[in-house]
C-alpha cells in the first residue's frame, strides 16, 4: 500500500498578526508577531523550530506582495534550522506546505515554521502596486503576451476566464453575490477581519464594474498582515498541546499546460486535476467535509472550487449557493467562515489555513460552526497553478 508523506504530518499551531488596511508595524514585525504566536500556540520554543518555509519568498520590490522571506525571519528569530525554502514555482501558495511535508519525510526537520506576509495595503498608498505592467520597460516572461493590451491588473486578466465561466454556466450576478454577502456576514463575527459591516445584494449590484463580469465586491482586499503555521512530524505532533490537525491529503499536480491562455479548460482552470489528486489520496469523500475554506482571490475562484472539489456538479455552483443558505455558518457546508480574503483581508490562502484550524480547534467564538467540525477542505489559487489540502482534526 502506498504511504503518502502528508499523512505523517500535522498542523500543530497557528498565529496571525494584526490585519489592517495600513499597518503601523513593519512587514517583518508583523511576521515576527505571527511566527511567535504560532510557535507558542503549538507549545514549542524557537529552539525546537528546525525548518522554515514561505511562498513565494522575499521579493525586494515596492509591491508588498512578499515583503519578507525566510532569511529575514530566520535572523530576526535567530532560528537554527536544518532546512529552509522560499520560492514561487509551486502548486500555488501551499507550495511552502507541500515542500515542508517533503522535508519532514526526508528527515530534514521535525517542526517547520511556514509563513506568508502581505504588505500590499501600505504599498498601494505610495505606488500603483497592482500594476502588472512596468511602464518604460520591455516586458519579459509569460506576461509579455498581455503587455501591449492595457492589462493593468490581475482582475482584468482573470476576468477573461471568469466571463467564459459565466457564459457556460449561466450564473447570474444575484447568485454570485451570495459569496461576498455570506463572507461579509462571517467577517462581522470575526474581530480580526478588515471589513465587518454587512453588505446587501443591492450593495453588490451597485459596486463598480471593474472588468466584466467582475465587480469591486468580487475582488479580495489588499491588506497588511502575516500568518504563520507550524507543520510537525506526526509523532512530535502527538506530544504537543493542540489536537493535531492532520494533513490527510494534498493536491499538487500540474497536469495542464502551465499557461493562463493555453489551459485545456479556460473556465475551470487547473483546479479539477488538483482536486482529483487530493481525493485520490484519501478514503474521505466530499460528503465527509464539515467546512470549506476556498480560495477567494476573486469570487469566481470560490465557485470553481465548489465544483472542482465535487461539492456540487460542474456549473452547479449557481444553484448550490442560491440564497446563501448552504454556505452560511449554519448551512450544510459553511464556506470561508472568517470572512475570507474578500472581507478578512488578502492573506493569500494562509488566512484560510488559519481559519480552518481556528474552526477545527473550536476557537471560532461568535463565528464558531456548530457540531464540532472535524474535516476541512481548503484550496488555493487558480489559473495554471493551484493547490489543495484536506485537513482532519484528531
Amino acid at each position: 500500500m502506498t504511504t503518502y508523506a502528508e499523512k505523517n504530518t500535522a498542523i500543530t499551531g497557528v498565529g496571525m498578526s494584526e490585519v489592517s488596511r495600513g499597518a503601523t508595524k513593519s512587514a517583518l514585525a508583523l511576521t515576527v508577531d505571527a511566527a511567535m504566536a504560532a510557535i507558542r500556540d503549538a507549545g514549542l520554543t524557537r529552539a525546537e523550530i528546525d525548518g522554515i518555509a514561505t511562498w513565494p519568498g522575499e521579493q525586494a520590490n515596492a509591491s508588498g506582495f512578499s515583503a519578507v522571506g525566510c532569511a529575514a525571519l530566520q535572523d530576526a528569530l535567530r532560528l537554527k534550522v536544518g532546512w529552509y525554502a522560499g520560492g514561487g514555482e509551486a502548486p500555488g501558495q501551499y507550495g511552502a506546505v507541500f515542500n515542508a511535508i517533503g522535508a519532514i519525510a526526508a528527515g530534514l526537520c521535525r517542526n517547520a515554521l511556514i509563513f506568508r506576509t502581505m504588505y500590499e495595503a501600505t504599498a498601494r498608498k505610495t505606488a500603483f502596486a497592482n500594476s502588472l505592467l512596468k511602464t518604460g520597460e520591455r516586458q519579459s516572461g509569460p506576461f509579455a503576451w498581455y503587455a501591449p493590451y492595457y492589462t493593468y491588473a490581475a482582475s482584468l486578466q482573470q476576468a477573461l476566464f471568469f466571463n467564459l465561466y459565466v457564459h457556460k454556466s449561466g450564473i447570474r450576478p444575484e447568485q454570485v453575490a451570495q459569496v461576498p454577502i455570506n463572507q461579509r456576514r462571517n467577517a462581522g463575527l470575526n474581530p480580526n477581519a478588515v471589513y465587518r459591516t454587512p453588505i446587501t445584494l443591492e450593495d453588490y449590484l451597485a459596486s463598480p464594474l471593474i472588468a466584466t463580469p467582475l465587480r469591486l465586491y468580487d475582488c479580495d482586499v489588499p491588506c497588511d498582515g502575516a500568518v504563520a503555521i507550524i507543520v510537525s512530524r506526526m509523532d512530535v505532533a502527538r506530544t504537543l498541546r493542540n489536537p493535531p490537525v492532520r494533513i490527510e491529503a494534498i493536491g499538487s499536480s500540474m497536469q495542464y499546460r502551465n499557461s493562463w491562455t493555453q489551459l485545456d479548460a479556460l473556465d475551470t482552470q487547473a483546479q479539477p486535476k488538483v482536486a482529483e489528486m487530493m481525493w485520490s489520496r484519501t478514503d474521505l469523500r466530499p460528503a465527509d467535509v464539515d467546512i470549506a475554506q476556498l480560495y477567494d482571490g476573486f469570487t469566481y475562484h470560490t465557485l470553481n472550487w465548489l465544483e472542482n472539489f465535487g461539492f456540487c456538479e460542474r456549473y452547479g455552483a449557481k444553484d448550490f449557493i442560491e440564497g446563501g443558505r448552504r454556505i452560511a455558518l449554519e448551512g450544510e457546508l459553511p464556506v470561508n467562515t472568517g470572512g475570507g480574503a474578500l472581507s478578512g483581508g488578502r492573506l493569500h490562502a494562509y488566512g484560510a489555513v488559519h481559519e480552518a484550524c481556528t474552526q477545527l480547534w473550536g476557537r471560532g467564538g461568535a463565528r464558531q460552526v456548530k457540531g464540532d467540525p472535524q474535516v476541512c477542505a481548503t484550496s488555493t489559487a487558480g489559473g495554471p497553478l493551484a493547490g489543495a489540502m484536506l485537513l482532519v482534526r484528531d
Binding site: 520591455r138 503587455a147 493590451y149 492595457y150 482584468l156 493555453q262
Partner: protein, 141 residues
C-alpha cells in the same frame, strides 16, 4: 483642462523565438511557429514540437482569422488617459484552436463583442514592433 494622452503600450522583450510574432505585421503577416514535420502550430513559440519532438519548427504566416474564445470589457480607468471601456480578449486561431492569442478587440462597440465572434488581425506599429490587434470580420451585406 488638457486631456491626458493615451498611455503608452508596454512592449514585450524580443528574443529569437518571439521576434517573428511581434515584427511580422510590418509585412501584414501574423507569424506563428509551425512544425515542418507534422504541421502542428507551436505557441508560445519554441523550436521544438511537443507532438512529434521535431526541431524543424519555424514561423510561418497564418490566415490571421480566428474566433473569440473569451473576452472581458474593462471599465476601470487604471491610469490617466486610458479610454474605457475597452475589450481584452483571447482569440483562438482558425488554423488550430489551442493557439490562443491575447489582444484587444477594436473597431467595434465593446458591448457588441460576443463569444465565438469571427475576427481578423490588424497591426499597429510601436517603436520597432508591429502589435497584433483583432477586429470583427465584416459581415457580407
Amino acid at each position: 483642462m488638457k486631456t491626458p494622452p493615451a498611455p503608452a503600450r508596454t512592449l514585450p522583450a524580443i528574443d529569437n523565438d518571439n521576434r517573428a510574432y511581434w515584427t511580422g505585421g510590418e509585412h501584414g503577416r501574423l507569424m506563428i511557429c509551425r512544425c515542418g514535420h507534422c504541421g502542428y502550430y507551436v505557441h508560445p513559440p519554441v523550436p521544438f514540437c511537443p507532438q512529434c519532438e521535431s526541431s524543424d519548427v519555424a514561423p510561418e504566416p497564418v490566415s490571421g482569422r480566428g474566433r473569440i474564445a473569451s473576452f472581458t470589457v474593462n471599465h476601470k480607468v487604471w491610469v490617466p488617459g486610458l479610454a474605457a471601456p475597452y475589450v481584452l480578449a483571447l482569440v483562438a486561431l482558425d488554423e488550430q484552436e489551442d493557439v490562443r492569442l491575447v489582444c484587444n478587440i477594436t473597431h467595434c462597440d465593446p458591448d457588441a463583442v460576443r463569444f465565438d465572434m469571427p475576427v481578423v488581425v490588424w497591426f499597429e506599429n510601436h517603436e520597432d514592433l508591429w502589435v497584433p490587434f483583432f477586429r470583427p470580420v465584416e459581415q457580407a451585406a
